[in-house]
Structure formats: C-alpha cells, structure tokens
Amino acid sequence: MLFKPVLLWTDMLLWLLLVSVAFYIWRVRQREHLLQPWRRLLRSRSGVASALVLLAFVAVGVFDSLHFRLPLEKQGNGAETHYSPEVLSVFDLMVGPLRKQVEKTYSAPFAAHLYTKETIELPGGKQVRDYPRLKYGGAHLRDPVREQTGDVVVTALRGGVYALALGAGLTLVLALWLARRRGISIGAAWVMIRHGRDEIPWRTLLATIGLLILFCCLATVFSVKYHIFGTDKVGQDVFYLALKSIRTGLMIGTLTTLVMLPFALLLGIMAGYFRGWVDDVIQYTYTTLSSIPGVLLIAAAVLILQVYMDNNQELFDTVAARADLRLLFLCVILGITSWTGLCRLLRGETLKVREMEFIQAATAFGVGHFRIIARHVLPNVMHIVLISIVLDFSALVLAEAVLSYVGVGVDPSMQSWGNMINGARLEMAREPMVWWSLLAAFVFMFVLVLSANLFSDRVRDAFDPRVR
C-alpha cells in the first residue's frame, strides 16, 4: 500500500463532532425559528469576520487530523512492508518544505545566517569563527547582506499580486452569484457589495477573506525561501510549530465540550425535571466536584495517567499514539471539571421550563417523561448550551497553554502553544534573547482567542432571549 492510515482517538472524536455539526446544520436549515438567530449573527460585521477567521483555524486543524504512516523502503523481494514510525498528516504534506527544512539550531526570522557563531573551515584550510549560512533560509541568495532587502520586497510583491488576483476573482464570483440569486445585474450587485446595502455585510466578509488570502499567499511565497518566524533550538521552523499547535488548541477547546456535554445535559435536565432525591444526588455530585480546585484535580489526574503510561508502555506503538492518548485524557479530565457550571444553569432553566403550560398539557395527556424531555425541554434549553459552549472555548484554549506550562498539559512531544511558551522561557535568559517562538505563539493564540471571544459575544447576542 502507498500509505497506512492512522486513526487516532482524537481524530475519531473530531470527525464525530463534525458529523454532529453537519447534522445540526441540516436540521437548522429546515426550521425557520432555528435559522433566525443565525441570520442575526450573519448580519453583524464582527460576527462574520470572526467566524471566518475561526473557520480558517478549523480548516488547518481538520487537515492536520488526517493521519497516516508512509512505508519504509522494502528490504529485498517479497518482504513485508514496514511503515515508518513517524505519523504524518495531510497538513504536513501541504506545508512540505516547512516540515523538512530543518536547520542546525536557532536562527532569527528571515535570517540567512545561524544565530550562534561556529568554527567554519575556509577553502584554504583556514578556520574562522563566524555565523555560518543556513541550509535553507535565504540559501538562494549569493550575498545576503546586499541582496536580501530587495529579495524580500520582490517576494512580498509577488505574494501581493497573487493575493490580489485571487481576491479579485473571488469578488467577481460573489458578485455573479449575488446577481443571479437576487435577480439583478452584475453592476447592481457590485454596488450593493461596495456600499454595504445588503443585510449581510459583504464588504467585511470580502475584506476578511482578502486578509486571509494575503496572509496565505505571503506565507507561501516566503516560507519556501526563508523561516518567517525563525527556527527553534533544534532547528525546526517555528512557523510550522505554531501551525501544528492549532490542532492541539482546537482539540482541547472542542473535544472537552464533547466530553462534558452529555454529563451536563443529562444530569442538568434530570435534576431540574425530576427534582426530589434525583436533584439532591446530582446537586451533591456537582457541588463536590466544583469545590475541588480545577487545576489541582487536573494535575492530579494527569500525574496518575503518566504513571499508568510509564507502566504500560507496550500499549502504544508510536509516539503519536502516546501523545494522543494524553491529549484525549486531558480533554476528558477538563470536561469532568467543567461540566458543573453548565449543569447548574440547565437545572435552573429546566425548573422554569417544566412549569410552563405546554409541558403541563403534555403531562396531562400522558406523554412519557422521556418524550417530554426530548421534545419539549431539550429544545427550550438549547440556547443556553450553545452560548456556554462558545463562551468556554477561548477559556479552554488559554487553559491548555497554562497547563502545558505547569507540566500537566499535553505531552511534551506534541506541538502546542503551551509547550512553545514553556520552551521560550529558557530562551528568554539567553543573551542575546531568542524572542521569535514566543512571538509566534503569542500571535497565533491571540488571533484564535480574540476571534473566539468576538464570535461568542455575537452568538450570545443572537441567541440569548433576554438581550432581544
């Protein structure tokens, strides 16, 4: 076979999550009252822009979740094919050069030379101590000192032209589509887009897509020639590490939700609906759990997992499988510590909903508890679930960084912003300082969390009945 697919646990859960999102979209499209809040969301400019940025992050994360192992070269005829222990993803293939262009050690962003002096042997046999040239970064330049500025400008212009062409094409397609859909001429559609005379803020949408395209084009043309964010201690491209960390951040943010949702939904609604001793037991459970400081509980649980993994090393065939199990476990334990808040909210709301007339009517008709919960209670508390999911997302991404820094987060072999920051701590003490991996982690995390925060604000505005 050409490759051997690898299905990690978190991959499977991610696909499950995507399937359920697709199912939700399909349901929403059929029901006007469910569609309305989303329409409201589409009309807000910050909502559209942040959703697009989030989508870009999600796309990277999804491509990074298609894992496989490449075969090693065959030993003789008819021998069994062995596969490389290295687990790659489709995303790794897409950014090929970024992954493969590994230098010796630190190099600054856009540098052509290494960051540390080394003894270089000259052709005549003499030795000098100087900054050696990089193997990949700026390797096409003959005299980096004189040529680099010009080369960077030319490359940037080229990237800009690509982006402009792509953007213009996209605008044209949008105008055509709008013209057909609304039954107006292309010119009228263009005027509508330009002056923002539609309920959907097309201008913001196009501007955000334009910026994303520009970033992608620039990153593509530059990353072939240079290390945009420099390289780290073992010479890996920091830009690549930051991109790979996206998956980790997203996984923590989304899978945790997937883990906590069944607990919170089931227990919260049960406590509110059945009341009595069920309520007492559930309340006792979540009070007990929430009175334990979260970080400590997580730390304790991760320590225990570490011991388990050290004692059962034969269970994991690759490093990736090991790191993946730890990530999954982290999501589970984060989910267990964070379902209590939503559960409490749902209990309160269910207490209110069950007193409403239509539910009392249903009870009088002899409809079973299960049907009442599924048909009447659940749809009426869904907005709380949605709002609290998006609100929690950014907090979880930030928590990952802190936990990895404390040493109880994701596996040290897994790329994550927390691990990058943790590594940067030692680099801060270097003289001169190595600042770029910190900067890369900061920029990526900031953009993701900021857009998640903006998006969740808009979701709350659109879905919370009290705001209207």
Partner: protein, 325 residues
C-alpha cells in the same frame, strides 16, 4: 442567622467527605502505592525490598480501606484511608512523601501567597469597578465602545504573556525591579510590586467587562429611571443607586475568592520565584509528591466552601431584603 450558618457548615461535611473519597480513589486506587514507590525510587533503585521499605517509612504498606488482619475498631482505623484522610478533617496533613511536615510548610508559605494575592485582589477590584463605572457612565459612546474592544483584546491574551512581557519590560529592559525572588519583612516590597502589577493588569480585561455588564443591567431597572426623573445627576445615580444595588452580583464573584487567596497563584508564584503555596503545589506536582497535592486539594475545597458560606452571609449585610432561614 446562626442556625442557618450552622446548617450550612453541617451541609459542608458530606461534601468534604465526598472530596476526600474522590481524591483518595484518584491517588491510591487508580495508582497503587507500589507505582508511587517506583517513581520516587527511580528506575535504577527499584527492588522489592526498596519498595517495601519506601512504603513502610511512609505508612503506605497498610491495606487501603479495610484491614482484615487487625482486631475490632482497628479493622477500619489501621488502614491507609483512615490514617491519610481522617486527619485532614482536623487539618493534620501529615508528612509529605519527602518526609517534610506539610502543615508547617503551609503555615510558613501562606504569608508570601497572601502578600501577593491580597493586593492583587483589592487593587484589581477597585480598578475594575472604576473602569466599568466609566464605561457605564459613557455608555453607547465612543469611549464605551473602545473600552469594550480593549477589554476583549486584553482578555484574549494568555496570562503567561502578561508575566513574560512584564518581566522583560520592567525587569530586564528598565531594571526597575528584580526579575524574581523573595525576601522577608519590608525588603520584600520590591519583589512584590511587579507580580502585583501584572496580576492586576492581567485581570482588567475580563473583570471590567463583567462589572460593566452588571452595571448596565442595573441601569435598565425602573428605580434608575425614577431617580433620573427626579432630576438627580447621572453621577449620583450611578454611585448612589446603581453601585449599591449592583453589590449583590459583585459580592457573589468576589467573596468566594477571598478564602482561596491563601492558595496563591500557581503560575505567577512559580515565574517570580515566590515561596508561596502556589509554587509549593507546582513543585509538588513536578516532584510527583502526592501527599502534598492531596493536602492542597483538600485545603482548596475547604476554603471554597467557606467562601460560599461567607458569600451568603455578606448578602444579608448588603441587602436587607434577603433573610437567611
């Protein structure tokens, strides 16, 4: 009132027993003392005798919850669960796996934690409320809008970056304060300024935004309209009426935290090298010292429950309508 408090304290007991059972299960059932011994001894020194010795020295060689070999009451009391857990209710935390007295460590280390957490809490609360008031005063104007944008941007930055950035800017570039460390007495002040400053700044984003929502919710009430109709100035409406009535939600968030201030902050204490309870816990996590982590988990839950009770009591002080029965 007294009855209510007593009942709340009685309610706390089953919760603490639950916490205790849970942490016990986490630490001793999932992960046997044999495993712990192996970690502490390291790969090279693992022999059955060494494990037995390590366990015996720390009292981990007894049965977990039920001692069938013992007589009478000792069947329950001569076990790991009894010895390691019941003592916690009397705040007797025993010894760490390294052999140190945990209670003594906590007593000495809580002061540096308080020295940072208390100023961060008080100053942070004052600044957040002031900012939120300003935004509420200029609501729906450019000032309010840019304030909210700034808050969202600030709360999107990980706390780690505030610390790293602050250390770099203030200590390394400007040489205003030492990068890290701690001292006793008044000379501790220069070590405290930066962590407190960073703690306050790091909390402004989410804090000010949260209080702003509370104030805006309060300003939409009828009594505010009445006060305005009476001809009161906007300032006296805000400070005289809104702030007073917004105290309930503010207290809900604030009072719960007060007892937890003892625990310090894991992150900033370890970054700034402050010998408080936060860095104590981190060190214990890194050294895999389960006895300390368990003690801290238990202490944390006790303080949280105390915080909840204090919140309820503070309600009655602020709002005479609320009577605790």
């Amino acid at each position: 009132m007294i009855n209510y408090i007593i009942r709340r304290i009685l309610y706390a007991i089953p919760i603490l027993i639950g916490v205790n059972l849970l942490t016990f299960a986490l630490f001793f059932v999932v992960n046997t003392p044999d495993n712990m011994a192996r970690i502490h001894l390291g790969v090279k020194h693992v022999t059955p005798e060494a494990i037995a010795k390590w366990k015996h020295e720390r009292g981990y060689d007894k049965p977990l919850m039920w001692n069938g070999a013992a007589q009478g009451a000792k069947q329950a009391s001569d076990t790991i669960f009894f010895e390691k857990s019941i003592g916690m209710f009397a705040f007797d935390f025993g010894r760490s796996d390294e052999g140190r007295d945990i209670a003594h460590d906590i007593k000495t280390r809580m002061w540096p934690s308080l020295a940072i957490a208390l100023p961060v809490f008080v100053v942070g609360l004052a600044i957040n409320i002031t900012f939120a008031m300003l935004m509420a005063f200029f609501r729906a104007t450019y000032i309010d809008f840019s304030g909210v944008v700034l808050c969202v941007a600030m709360m999107s930055i990980s706390g780690l970056f505030y610390i790293i950035g602050g250390q770099y800017l203030v200590s390394k570039l400007l040489h205003l304060t030492p990068i890290s460390g701690f001292d006793t007495g008044s000379s501790a002040l220069k070590f405290l300024i930066l962590p407190v400053l960073i703690g306050v700044i790091g909390g402004i984003g989410s804090g000010a935004r949260w209080y702003r929502t509370i104030f805006l919710e309060e300003t939409s009430r009828d009594y505010v309209r009445t006060a305005r109709a009476k001809g009161l100035s906007e300032l006296s409406v805000l400070f005289g009426h809104v702030l007073k009535n917004a105290m309930i939600p503010i207290l809900t968030g604030a009072v719960v935290v007060i007892p937890l201030l003892f625990m310090g902050s894991l992150i900033s204490e370890s970054f700034f090298g402050i010998p408080g309870l936060g860095s104590y816990t981190i060190d214990a996590i890194n050294a895999q010292d389960f006895a300390i982590v368990r003690a801290m988990v238990f202490l944390g839950s006790v303080l949280y429950i105390v915080g909840l009770i204090l919140t309820d009591i503070s309600y009655t002080l602020v709002d005479p309508r609320i009577r605790l029965e």
